[in-house]
Symmetry: C2
Subunit: 189 residues, 2 copies
């Protein structure tokens, strides 16, 4: 009986009981929902740098319990690098991919929709004349990004399309990219 | 003499000769500058997914020569995950960190400015009431991101500030986030 109860509360690996409990808590005390995420970066050489992710702030406290995770960033030789890591604009697609996927699965789980498989692919266009300062008319960032989802679940086409719309609506990375966010860059002595 | 010549062409590990050669080529044939970057993602369970980066298109050809790099994305337990990877909004900061750093170093190198050290840190604010659908008034994405740079180089304060401004101006990830980019999300049968 206890096992059955637990099974009912977890959908697609998402603890829906915890999810609804969190939502109830936040409605009473909204500042629980304020999170700060962080990274640091140290330049190595040329186009190679190394980023570290460890602590964050959320639910009214600092969390320093995670082990640090280190990411190498570099460019392929054609872009002046030595391929010591994935490049920054590729990391942006990685971020978008995880965020849309989590958003899709979390919101489906909250509705009790069972999902067997979610696959997606990402492609973004960049014209390097922006980065290289060759043309002021060319956007420096991604001109557009295309995403394609495949979902394996007992759902109609319309229901799958609705899931993909929901994923976009609630994905923090999708919304940061499509609606923009202010970034202040300061220099410290 | 040959060694000296080579040394003069590489500044901060950036092959400035190759950089200027690329700029000259692009001025003659602008479509060399059109790049497409890609990622794929496969959901694992709950908030855990796995992204892969491998091929890209650029300089008029497909490049499939790199080995695939796999990234795990998950959430900490407080955000319904099991800490099987860094979370998507943290990956966004990783992307931003590498891009601003590379932009800073590449543009400094093109001007012949020698740099000893570049360190930076990133913090972004997210109110989860957006993701959780508790409030329509709260932005779903980052509300703001703060970046702090430390640069070790024989430069005046004004010159360091100018470098940080240049880094922002030419960074593709910075410009994608601050100016937004359209993302089309389609569902495939």
């Amino acid at each position: 009986m206890e096992a059955k109860k637990e099974k009912e509360m977890v959908v697609n690996g998402v603890n829906v009981g915890q999810l609804f409990g969190t939502i109830d808590q936040i409605k009473i005390q909204p500042d629980i929902a304020e999170f700060k995420f962080r990274a640091t970066n140290e330049w190595v050489s040329g186009t190679h740098s190394r980023a570290t992710v460890k602590d964050f702030y959320g639910a009214l406290r600092e969390d320093d319990s995670r082990r640090p995770v280190v990411f190498d960033l570099d460019e392929p030789p054609i872009l002046l690098g030595q391929d010591q890591g994935t490049n920054p604009v590729e990391y942006l697609l990685v971020a978008l991919s995880g965020c849309l996927t989590t958003s899709l699965v979390a919101h489906a789980s909250a509705k009790g929709i069972k999902i067997r498989k979610v696959q997606s692919r990402y492609e973004g266009d960049i014209d390097l004349r922006g980065f290289l300062g060759i043309s002021e008319d060319v956007p420096v960032g991604y001109q557009r990004i295309r995403v394609f989802f495949k979902i394996d679940a007992d759902l109609s086409d319309e229901e799958k399309q609705e899931l993909v719309r929901t994923a976009q609506k609630y994905s923090p990375v999708f919304n940061t990219i499509t609606k923009s966010a202010p970034v202040s860059v300061l220099w410290e002595k």
